[in-house]
Symmetry: C2
Subunit: 281 residues, 2 copies
Amino acid sequence: MKIHILTIVGVGLIGGSIGLAAKKRGVCQRVRGVGRNKTSLERAHSLGAIDEAFLELEPAMAGADLAVFCTPVDQIAGQVLTAAKACQGHGTLLTDAGSTKSAIVAAVHGQLPDGVQFVGSHPLAGSEKRGPEHADARLFENRLTVVTPTPHTDLAALERTRSFWQALGSRVRVMDPEEHDRALALTSHLPHLLASALAGILPEELRELTASGFRDTTRIASGDPPLWNAILAHNRAAILEALASLTRRLDRFRYCLENGDWTSLDSLLTQAKKVRDALGN
Amino acid sequence: MKIHILTIVGVGLIGGSIGLAAKKRGVCQRVRGVGRNKTSLERAHSLGAIDEAFLELEPAMAGADLAVFCTPVDQIAGQVLTAAKACQGHGTLLTDAGSTKSAIVAAVHGQLPDGVQFVGSHPLAGSEKRGPEHADARLFENRLTVVTPTPHTDLAALERTRSFWQALGSRVRVMDPEEHDRALALTSHLPHLLASALAGILPEELRELTASGFRDTTRIASGDPPLWNAILAHNRAAILEALASLTRRLDRFRYCLENGDWTSLDSLLTQAKKVRDALGN
């Protein structure tokens, strides 16, 4: 696919990595970065993640072939609609990198002017770190990006979105937005909540007594609170379901400990090890 | 302190690392390794972690100045008592590397022949990996080892134990066994249980949808089930307390999600981030 101008809205770890990967792989000719923070944009520019920096969204959309929104999930839909107005008629494809999909896709649905398409995306990459200084041109290599069309999505737009992420090195899986959100509630949002809960109950005097196990288990609790607040709020229903499932499993562990049922405890530990071993490192 | 012969019982990741560190740092003149698995002992020998391999405990104790038990926690006390009989009169110091302390210390208390001392230890190092092939001479550097005397512990034996771990590169903190177990219930045993619970509820079809967050949070679920079964069984009371505290914290997260209390959710996330950030990588 041909992309002359790629606009990245929100040039942090993910947006910056998209810029670096797109340039390294010749996916587009020119990368525009949009952000509110001038220093951060300048950093992205000096790192080679973007060619041009914009503090305003509309001018960055003029003539753009593809725009990716890498902002917090509670800002994406509004920005998509604003951007859509600024680029109507050009055939611009809009997509995003948000960790939730249903609310965003629903808010955009039916609101776009002719000649503008939006297809939701979520690259399963990133970390608890923030900012373009942590961007990595290889972030998407061998990772999965979920693309979430609806029954109303234009098929050509879906294919272009898929090709874009593949061009950055990612594998692509197509799911509907609700299925994505239920899955990610379990694989990403619940882990964040658990990590936060565990880190949150550690008293200061026990910090010295943590080792790599505690640190691994709680690492993602270092994620940005407003970003995560927005994700948890967007996907609350599915997260509450995932939390209920986890609570039931914890109850089984508690039962084993309270009743000295070491056979069942061994089964729980063995089954979990099998799952975890299958995931690799 | 002078150690001519160091005997390591259980030459896996921890035992192998003790051997490598002791030899690299000139802590002793000769390292004996005791294990049930001949292949594993040969591997430890060829890696330079031990000088001599023993399939039986008693002969490996003859003339040993210090013996460290790096076996599963439910085997340590029995082995310590067996070993003690084999080395009485020599002034041998016995210590261990078990993840629980109260049950071990209690089982050994009052059972040792004259001239043999036991002081419980727990180096906060290791990983979900097993076997001498994962041993590392630097495993204890800048890590903490908890040494757990009782009011009956000989002070000279306590000092020798402390010096031994320091000689391997570790910092040492002295705690009583119960205090150690309460602390580790929260910093190590509960995280294992949580990681297992989370890995355990992941359906196979969602494995592809996990990224580094899920993998970090569940990494320790790959630990050996029998090893962890023994640890959880030894420390069940303290772990149940830690689990109750975690459950109360999860209830607060659930309340926030159910009631849309984003302000309280932000406070929970922010407090957890502060704790996690303070731990470093």
